[in-house]
Symmetry: none
Subunit: 227 residues, 2 copies
């Protein structure tokens, strides 16, 4: 799991945080002042740093700058200071987030999750919808077969598929589809939907006569079922 470096001279708070973070499965390192924080971070690089602004030796902002000199590890700053200038200074020094004391533990944990998610999202796959027979890559705007071959779609076909793919499993009404693709003036042209979905099925469905993914809800609309 992720390693978190905790920097604070308030032993009470340090203890509380350590317990809560450890309980969530995080690997926790602690430092009571800025100097040891910097050397510790250099020796065993953490995945995230939580740092209090009020340290005995260095200013918290200085520590943030020190870290930012060589790493982009997420940094969450804790502080009792409400002053806006302090927040701006810390954020501009390179901090990712600024939490004012007193804070709720759940909130801090959520912010920790958000920061870590961002940092690791790097390696995560692209936003896509996958079925047994094809993959809809929404980010790249591309559809590929399970084997990896590209499926060519016309603009209208893609547009329709995109709308369904953004609401997987959900029913999308005729009006919504027509509105989105053709505009408000085409609310009644359900003909268009039939023609284009027929073409889509021919390209995507293994057996377009018995659609498995692009389902018709008679009188209502269409639905894309991932599996």
């Amino acid at each position: 799991m992720s390693r978190i470096l905790l920097v604070d001279d308030d032993t009470q708070l340090l203890r509380a945080l350590r317990i809560n973070l450890s309980a969530r499965g995080y690997d926790v390192l602690t430092a009571a002042d800025g100097g040891t924080a910097l050397t510790l971070a250099a020796r065993t690089p953490p995945d995230l740093v939580i740092i209090d602004l009020g340290l005995p030796d260095l200013d918290g902002v200085t520590v943030v700058e020190g870290l930012r000199g060589w790493t982009r590890t997420p940094i969450i700053v804790l502080s009792a200071r409400e002053a806006e200038a302090a927040k701006v200074a810390a954020l501009d020094a390179g901090a990712d987030d600024y939490v004012t004391k007193p804070f709720g533990m759940d909130e801090l944990l959520a912010r920790v999750r958000a920061a870590l998610r961002r940092a690791t999202a790097h390696d995560a796959g692209p936003a896509a919808l996958t079925t047994r027979d094809f993959t809809v890559d929404l980010a790249a705007r591309r559809v590929t077969t399970a084997a990896g071959a590209e499926i060519r779609l016309t603009p209208t076909e893609w547009h329709l598929l995109e709308i369904l793919a953004r609401h997987p499993g959900k029913l999308v009404g005729h009006r919504h589809l027509l509105h989105e693709v053709w505009g408000p003036a085409y609310d009644t042209e359900t003909n268009y939907l039939r023609v284009h979905f027929a073409n889509l099925r021919r390209k995507l469905e293994p057996d377009s006569a018995a659609p498995r993914y692009i389902r018709t809800e008679p009188g209502l609309g269409y639905r894309l079922t991932p599996d």
Copy 2:
């Protein structure tokens, strides 16, 4: 500069934010409800989203989930709700930050800077893109053949190629390309794209009649496929 999508039904606040952000050189889009926010974001992808939780049509968290279905654009949530549960829900839905109203403008701007800084440092991507026939060196602004000979590109050609190379494999829309190279006033001049991409293909593609790397997606845009 960066494009920011602002979602709020409070016209007062919307106006204040728009003015402040525009003054900092950001390109600001606005939406008054969740539905238009989602379609707007899909049509012209923003670099950052600021969204109020209390919207007339959809719950803010729903909008965050809708965006996270296909993009990792930073999202800053605004809300009058102090409740910790609301913060946790929004952050876990994929939001990057949560700011409680009333907030200081300077703080929000600092958080915007922090979010954008992260995202662009992140997106920097690879410094070069290599195919079997040529190499695009983004750092050196140079294109060379596989043999190492330099390929001379005009400024416009380079600009177009650079945009494609920064999003390898992804479809880049007409509007995005025109916006980036010629500015907002040239949204409909797809003619330019055809001419310049034809020239690019003549210089890069082994057989410009059957393009292998610079692919056309009719009606949508272009795509650079490394192999």
